[in-house]
Symmetry: D2
Subunit: 295 residues, 4 copies
């Protein structure tokens, strides 16, 4: 079993790290919040209080951080991961950040001759707990193969999107589509209901027709249509509107750089921004149904 350093023990990182421990890996953890890292001591992990201490002896380094600025700060610089890691360490960044930031870190890693993949996840905190995350990977195929046994301890699906940064690109393409489709599903159901249809009947019809999509079928935004969906428990839990807004912002950032046309993605960003401005940032993103249907 490999020696793994895990940096970033937030809502996603902590359960991912715990799954690695359960699988028998020797783990050294680091987080800038002391209580977050200390909580791993009783579980059998080594606890480091600096980045170099965390990574200097690791065979694999995994990071799960909230933004590209954090990722650059942790990887680059004199006391960063790149300067501190051993020659043959494999680097896995599972943060969701801008593709250009991922490529910048990958370029820097190349100057150290270190393998690195960007491996953002989907599946949320429940997927992280259950070890059933999806990893969307950018980087060399060989690096992905090195990472695969470790990723499989934390997730079920692993996709190879392309070179460095491609994991980030593929994830925001998926999430932009998801954000649009959740809004569009709310629009379609609202239009139906306000014209006399039953939301469950209408959802059932569309689910078997050409308008079907994941949001409608397994994460329906209309309360009462699906018992297990956040909509049926007051939109508590799930994937926060604030997080969807972050991903739509990353999509717009990428679209701006490549001058890609995203009229619906751009309007969706504005509507989630309005929804968060209305105080719903912590609710599951399917709560945009309330913006569309008035309550």
């Amino acid at each position: 079993m490999q020696r793994i350093a895990f940096l970033g023990l937030g809502n996603m990182g902590a359960p991912m790290a715990r799954n690695l421990l359960k699988a028998g890996h020797r783990l050294t953890v680091f987080d800038i919040v002391a209580s977050a890292r200390e909580s791993f001591r009783p579980l059998g992990a080594a606890v480091a209080s600096t980045i170099p201490a965390a990574v200097s002896d690791a065979e694999v380094v995994i990071t799960m951080l909230p933004s590209g600025d954090h990722v650059k700060a942790v990887y680059l610089g004199d006391t960063g991961i790149l300067a501190s890691a051993r020659a043959d360490t494999l680097l896995i960044d599972s943060s969701t950040i801008a593709a250009e930031d991922a490529r910048a870190v990958a370029s820097a890693a190349a100057t150290y001759h270190l393998d690195i993949i960007d491996a953002p996840v989907s599946g949320g905190t429940s997927g992280a707990e259950a070890g059933s995350l999806t990893f969307i990977v950018g980087g060399a195929a060989a690096a992905l193969e090195r990472a695969r046994p470790v990723l499989e301890k934390m997730g079920k699906n692993i996709f190879h999107a392309g070179d460095s940064g491609a994991g980030q690109v593929a994830k925001i393409c998926n999430n932009m589509l998801l954000g649009i489709q959740m809004l569009a599903t709310a629009e379609a159901l609202s239009l139906g209901v306000e014209n006399g249809l039953d939301p469950a009947t209408l959802s059932g019809i569309i689910a078997k027709s050409s308008g079907r999509n994941w949001a409608l079928e397994v994460y329906n935004p209309w309360p009462g249509v699906m018992e297990a969906a956040p909509a049926s428990r007051g939109y508590v839990g799930g994937f926060g509107s604030e997080l969807m807004l972050k991903d739509l912002g990353l999509a717009q950032q990428a679209a701006g750089a490549s001058r890609s046309l995203t009229p619906l993605g751009s309007l969706a960003q504005q509507l989630y921004r309005l929804h968060c401005q209305n105080g719903n940032g912590k609710l599951d993103f399917s709560s945009v149904k309330m913006l569309i249907a008035g309550s």
Copy 2:
């Protein structure tokens, strides 16, 4: 086998009527275009040259017409279907029209004590030929049960959406969602490709993720991703952009009447209008990929 009158023998109506003949029904056909109706004589249908002649002896009347104005003209008035049909005739309107028009005709039919359903279809001309259409039905459950044996000669799936007009509402809700999702899929794939991803790889990843939808999975708008999709044969055939624009207009009409919020549906309407203005109205609606990706 019932005696059926079929009115409206266009691209959709003609193959639907032929499937009824094949199934052994005694058919009387009518179309304002003489050549369209005469083409049914060699097939064994009776040909009527007026609406009363077509419907006066029918047990079931089916209409497949291009707009609500046509439907109202054919059903209402002194020489219309309602005034000409026998007391127990079952009426099936498979045209895609505004729900308010469908309700107006249904109200008028009620004054004649005639059963009527609105039963718009999806599946396109190929579904009409193959007898594999989907019918989305509005009207009384009992009327739908009377119609079911006939509908099953022309289609595979039959959904009951609710009362009169509900079939139309459900269909435009589905098609509005479809129109949005085709555009959104084009945006997501274009964003990925312009950031270095392969469109087939990206489609494969999203198809197994939360961004999946029917358009991406079985009708991919990117040329070369799916051999059988219109995108891979120059967007010829399929469901025309012009027809999608018509349905998005019906959705906006319904949304205006019920004051429903449809920001994405409304923007999608504008983008398909632009796409048609650019001369692409006859191409399959997945050709909006060209609007988004620049070619």
Copy 3:
């Protein structure tokens, strides 16, 4: 002084009619609400209780009604204005309605050889009280010249937009632009304020620059920037959001018929619909500032 029949004595019609009385015209008034018409008796007007009684002796008939359906009901039919008016009566419809409805009524009037103009107004209730309305006129130039002396009793500016219906078209073009610009002004001021600028300073700069528009300059949506604007008195009074939404709907109706591209007009309609859905329909339309700025 001409004998004038005035039909439709609502918030706009009543003060317009009073200005005609003040100018010395002999007035016969009609409204379906008895108290509305009776309130004119003490002012010296004759009061009619039917349309034929109101118009049969008039030289000029003026209508000010809430919708195209009302206008068609009042002009057409056996007891409508067209059937009841004298051969040489001049007809002036000041209602704001769809251009196609205006053209339909004008066509019907032509069969009676009656001169008619569509003459929708801007200026609101205060302009109606003050006799300072703007009339935007569609119809023959000769008919406008016949109407001019009467219009001048109620308004200050009279524009000839073109043939029948053109008054309606020009008005909705203007109001669509106004609705967009109010929203856009709110966006620009909000963006400035949230980046540290003073709204009055910023308004002053833009007012002398290429971003200037009527809303910013004389009807500023930011509270406190202009003492006289509705924004500085809680958005009470002025031109209701609900009325702006009606005009944006007429614009979309016209755009749909002519297949005109109006992406911003269409999005503005959705945003005002949301604003009204939030309970702000009675507030002045500059209150969309609250939608954009969050309060």
Copy 4:
């Protein structure tokens, strides 16, 4: 007369610098393109081939550069303006860049105790030639007063928007509004024309009504309405669509950082991006009329 260093001699910078020479200032110029700076030698300017050489003896330094990255590169670093300038030099950056970049440079300047203002301009190349630019200034009032005599050699209007960065914010607020209004004006005129109105008549009516704005009144996008406007000469010259797109991008960047709601600004950005994608980036931005009206 002060000794001025002018850095950045492009389409805007060169005529601005020439106006300073004409006014009698002693000028040292710098541009990374040698031919650009050498063209000033015959006019009597000193020509520097490095930044330190250009600014080390200057009382005032003016920069006019294409992007925030250029501005940061030229001001910061060991051989940048800040490190090379004399203690009491006044710094004027007339580039249009992100407010956050302007603030970053201003912060750095403060550590050198150097006065700096951001002073982006409007008025285009013709305003630069004529010395009739508008300066929108951010920074301390005292610094603006030091700059005023110099700015007045190049422009006619000088506005003080607020602290450092405020000039940039005010400019993008204005230009976002302008970009929206040009599109909206094209929509309104197109809607009118496609419903039978004459574009000049309609423009004349709106210009005296509540829909009026600068674009409609003095820069009309419809060919033939205003002889002097770019629309009447094939949209050649003026302010390029590409430049408007840049400013809309800066507006979205600022809106993203402050989480400001700009639904129309965001859609306008997408539409100009499409327009540029269609090959119209070099045409005056009023050419978006072609996107809206189909030609």
